[in-house]
Assembly symmetry: C2
Homo-oligomer: 300 residues x 2
């Protein structure tokens, strides 16, 4: 029932928005970076500490507005082990503030290795006699190219720990069609076939959601019919060109049937506004409220 936890938070906040915490170093105000560079030098450790301070500032300001955050693993890995530590601390901090945390990692492998990824990101592990939490997110994005052997270990961990995964179906990027849109002999496209696999794995939609880009509105609307019970995680709003009107198809059964990501539009609102850098959190909140209103104007 893990996805129900997210649906409930969406209903409580009356807002189907997830803030993508993709801390490109260019997004972080100079004063924050200098604070840590002057203390620890100019390496990855300082950068990781600046990112954590930035994330906290964002989370503190948006926690009352949105139900969830989505840290993008790539930007934390780019800062090495220090960055990955910031990922864990960010997850903990956001959860303390009541947010649902979806780690965006598109992880994928098979068998014991998929299980290791699931344990890493969604569960606890035993080392010796102790139990430890490596990352402890609520949800993880997963790539389903390897089929059932790749997904079942994730699904088991989700069922045992009330966690969830989101499987890539139709991604928001221009070239997503190169493989995903190709027609199969059975009449389905590759991405429709992926949707059918999700249906086999978890027709109820209790543990598995689907990633469907805002940039392909007619495909999104058709996928809603194919997967009536599945929560959609929707990237591509804002910077990538998707609008509120484009994502309405996901929400035909109510506001808690999808969650729309925005990263840059919220994290860098202070740059766009020409505000003082120390107002990055305030401007993020204003942008999040504006996005909420933009979405609610089209979702009945």
């Amino acid at each position: 029932m893990s996805i129900e936890i997210l649906r409930q938070k969406i209903r409580e906040k009356n807002n189907p928005t997830v803030v993508g915490l993709d801390p490109n170093l260019d997004f972080i105000p100079e004063y924050l970076k200098l604070k840590y560079y002057s203390k620890y030098g100019e390496g990855l450790k300082s950068a990781a500490k600046a990112v954590y301070a930035f994330n906290k500032g964002i989370i503190d300001n948006i926690a009352d507005v949105v139900p969830a955050i989505k840290p993008q693993a790539a930007y934390y890995e780019r800062l090495g082990a220090n960055g990955v530590k910031t990922l864990k601390k960010t997850i903990e901090y956001a959860q303390k503030r009541g947010l649902y945390v979806i780690t965006d990692g598109n992880r994928n492998d098979i068998g014991a290795t998929s299980e290791a990824y699931a344990d890493a990101h969604l569960s606890t592990i035993n080392t010796g006699h102790d139990e430890s939490t490596p990352f402890g997110a609520d949800s993880l994005t997963v790539n389903g190219y390897l089929g059932t052997d790749g997904i079942k270990p994730f699904l088991n961990v989700c069922q045992n720990n009330q966690k969830s995964i989101f499987v890539l179906v139709k991604t928001s990027n221009p070239s997503s069609g190169e493989l995903q849109d190709l027609k199969l002999e059975n009449g389905l496209t590759v991405y429709e076939q992926m949707a059918e696999l999700i249906k086999q794995w978890d027709e109820s939609g209790k543990y598995i959601g689907a990633v469907v880009g805002a940039t392909y509105p007619s495909q999104l609307t058709a996928l809603r019919k194919r997967l009536p019970n599945t929560l959609f995680l929707i990237p591509g709003y804002g910077a990538q060109g998707g609008t509120a009107a484009d994502i309405i198809g996901a929400f035909s059964n109510g506001i808690d049937n999808g969650i729309v990501n925005n990263s840059r539009g919220i994290l860098t609102a202070y740059i766009k506004n020409g505000s003082h850098p120390s107002d990055f959190g305030r401007d993020a909140k204003v942008a999040a409220v504006k996005m909420k209103e933009d979405l609610l104007a089209v979702i009945k």
Copy 2:
């Protein structure tokens, strides 16, 4: 020309084997774990230190026999930030011993995020005025489901840094066919289409290799014809059932056209042999030499 670096190491060692460093905690001898548990307690830090000691023991013993190692990111992430630090230290140590390092992470995303993954695993980044190396592997496995937007950023980083990626084509697991084997209207299967995309991205095979499972020998042989210049990374030998005879199709143009992975068969040879746990490194070397002979018996 990065893949040429790996080809050269394969020729020098006369051995197309990569040792998968998948440090499941069950593989690590108890005495090694106790050494660190008694010092640092039973948490992730101790486990990560035990893994590093184990990896060093394996690397010291196999460095003269094999050209490459392939650490599986999932097992390091499972130990949190400490585990990820062990991944970096393992990469550094193996490179010092002359080994080519392929991080098995199946990473995938688009645009700036793919670039962040590529920087993280294969390049350096600027924090402030300093340049830092997050992980610094020689190669990374990548999932191509998102198309060109997902691969180009990796390819650029490879070209600028003489690094490489291996893109999943036909994976070794039983359910890989659920999506990968489906026939498209154009007559190709999904995995053949993926091979065609690799050809578009890097027909020369200088920077992009292909992951093709040992467990599907006829598909492997056919893919060799479709991708004559591409180095194949071949999982599925040993524990998953693939034999030396099954992978011969990859090597029709010579020994430096493929690299066959073995993880468990080498890491846990001491358990299978009933040896004293402190002989894990020696037994790993014996198993690696035996695998080399097994492969060379079929590769002309």
